[in-house]
């Protein structure tokens, strides 16, 4: 496996949960079956996708990730499927899309729940017939691409809300690989923390070390932002050059809270500026969560109501470790027919 061990951190652990994920990665890798990778933000879904790619016969060909939430519909369509010259204003030349660029390789469609309905139909067509037409073109192009999809949202809820096609949901969900949140595999936290500290010590020429007590505190934390949050904290700690940051971020005795039920509670901080900062964060988080719940997590609608950009909202959701409450499990009613 190329790169630093920390690149593969989410997969390296010895916990039973992640052993199961690794075993599934190995089983599905050398097939062309579409896999839906689920799990909260920051658990390492992209790492799992890359591992599937690298363990497959496609490893010498491109691995391309497209974030379906990052672009508005018409740009995303052109990004994925390419366009012909003159397809729209500004299309001065023919441009291949990621389906063509990933030829022979693997395409990861991240945040698949955010794919606009019109593109869902086009994706379903690609999955069914392995061919598509560029924007503004009528000629179909066949592709040799393995498609992986990732989501931190419950797609069945998106189906019920009418924003995700049921037939595509069925098509994607046949083989699902769910990466568990970090709080459900706490035994990995010390290993991961040391790995990240070692990586950033090397990168920033530092010699920060974690004591046993600090590792225990890290292990007790809830990590609503999962492995990414742990990595970011370890990075900031190394950059600052000492572990005092942990006193601010992980106060002793702070209860480990499940995700989605509020930011970690801190004991009364002594500095006024800190009190104000945290109060503002808590207020912001509560307001965002309130709006998201009111609009059933339609993020575009929430961004409009909050009068911030869609991208800014996504960043806030990530920053605050917000996620929908665990959905009620209801059995599917039947396959989508077309």
């Amino acid at each position: 496996v190329p790169g630093h061990d920390a690149d593969w951190a989410p997969l390296l652990s010895r916990s039973a949960a992640m052993r199961g994920v690794r075993a599934r990665v190995e089983r599905v890798a050398d097939t062309d079956v579409t896999v839906l990778i689920g799990g909260e933000s920051g658990v390492g879904k992209e790492v799992v996708a890359r591992a599937i790619h690298l363990a497959s016969s496609r490893r010498h060909r491109p691995f391309i990730k497209v974030n379906c939430a990052a672009l508005p519909g018409e740009l995303l369509e052109s990004e994925l499927f390419g366009h012909e010259k003159g397809a729209f204003t500004g299309a001065y030349r023919r441009k291949p899309g990621t389906f063509e660029l990933a030829d022979g390789g693997t395409l990861l469609l991240d945040e698949i729940a955010e794919l606009p309905l019109a593109l869902q139909a086009k994706l379903l067509h690609v999955l069914q017939d392995l061919e598509f037409a560029r924007v503004g073109g009528s000629e179909t192009t066949t592709v040799d691409v393995r498609i992986l999809a990732a989501t931190n949202r419950a797609l069945d809820q998106a189906v019920r809300a009418g924003v995700f096609r049921e037939d595509l949901y069925y098509r994607l969900k046949v083989v699902t690989l769910t990466v568990p949140p970090l709080r459900e595999r706490r035994e990995e936290i010390p290993v991961l923390a040391r790995l990240f500290v070692e990586r950033y010590n090397g990168q920033y020429s530092r010699t920060v070390t974690l004591s046993e007590g600090e590792l225990r505190r890290l292990t007790a934390h809830a990590w609503p932002g999962n492995v990414r949050e742990l990595e970011n904290l370890m990075k900031r700690m190394v950059v600052l050059g000492d572990t005092a940051l942990l006193d601010e971020e992980l106060p002793p005795g702070a209860p480990a809270r499940p995700r989605g039920e509020g930011c970690p509670v801190h004991p009364a901080p002594t500095r006024l500026r800190e009190i104000v900062r945290r109060a503002a964060l808590e207020a912001e988080r509560a307001a965002i969560l309130d709006v998201l719940e009111r609009v059933q997590w339609n993020r575009a609608e929430a961004a409009r109501l909050l009068r911030i950009s869609y991208k800014a909202l996504l960043a806030k959701i990530d920053q605050c470790g917000l996620a929908r409450k665990r959905p009620r499990v209801t059995p599917p009613t039947g396959p989508g027919r077309s």
Binding site: V33, Q128, R337, S338
Partner: protein, 134 residues
């Protein structure tokens, strides 16, 4: 390919055996023939489509993983369920990734059972029997 069909009361049950591994396909075909049924070997999922246009089998024993860039067994299954005349053809999935297939989705697609390779011969025959009878 010509398939002779006798009257419904006497004809042997027709079972399509789709598996890209020749040894496995041969073994399944032998087992099914020994059980008194007609087995039609098919190497690739895509090869099943022209056959299905000519005959409606009583069961399809379906592998999932196919060679790279070939239609997978899952692809074929969705195609079957999109066409009215193929919707009710019973399917038995026998695959190395059988246990990774979402059981609820499989039920929703009217898959009789999903077995994981290596499969036990008595279990395979039992599942075949459940669909086509003794």
């Amino acid at each position: 390919m010509t398939v002779e069909r006798a009257g419904p009361e006497v004809r042997a049950k027709q079972i399509l055996v789709i598996d890209d591994t020749a040894d496995v396909r041969g073994l399944f075909v032998d087992l099914i023939r020994d059980a008194g049924h007609e087995a039609i070997p098919v190497a690739l999922a895509a090869d099943a489509l022209p056959i299905l246009r000519r005959l409606t089998p009583d069961l399809i024993v379906l592998d999932v993983v196919m060679p790279r860039n070939e239609m997978t067994g899952i692809d074929l299954l969705f195609r079957l369920r999109r066409r009215a005349e193929w919707t009710d053809i019973p399917v038995l999935i026998v695959s190395s990734i059988g246990e990774l297939i979402d059981p609820e989705i499989a039920r929703g697609l009217h898959v009789h059972a999903v077995l994981t390779k290596p499969v036990s011969v008595p279990l395979l025959l039992e599942k075949v029997r459940q669909v086509v009878g003794p």
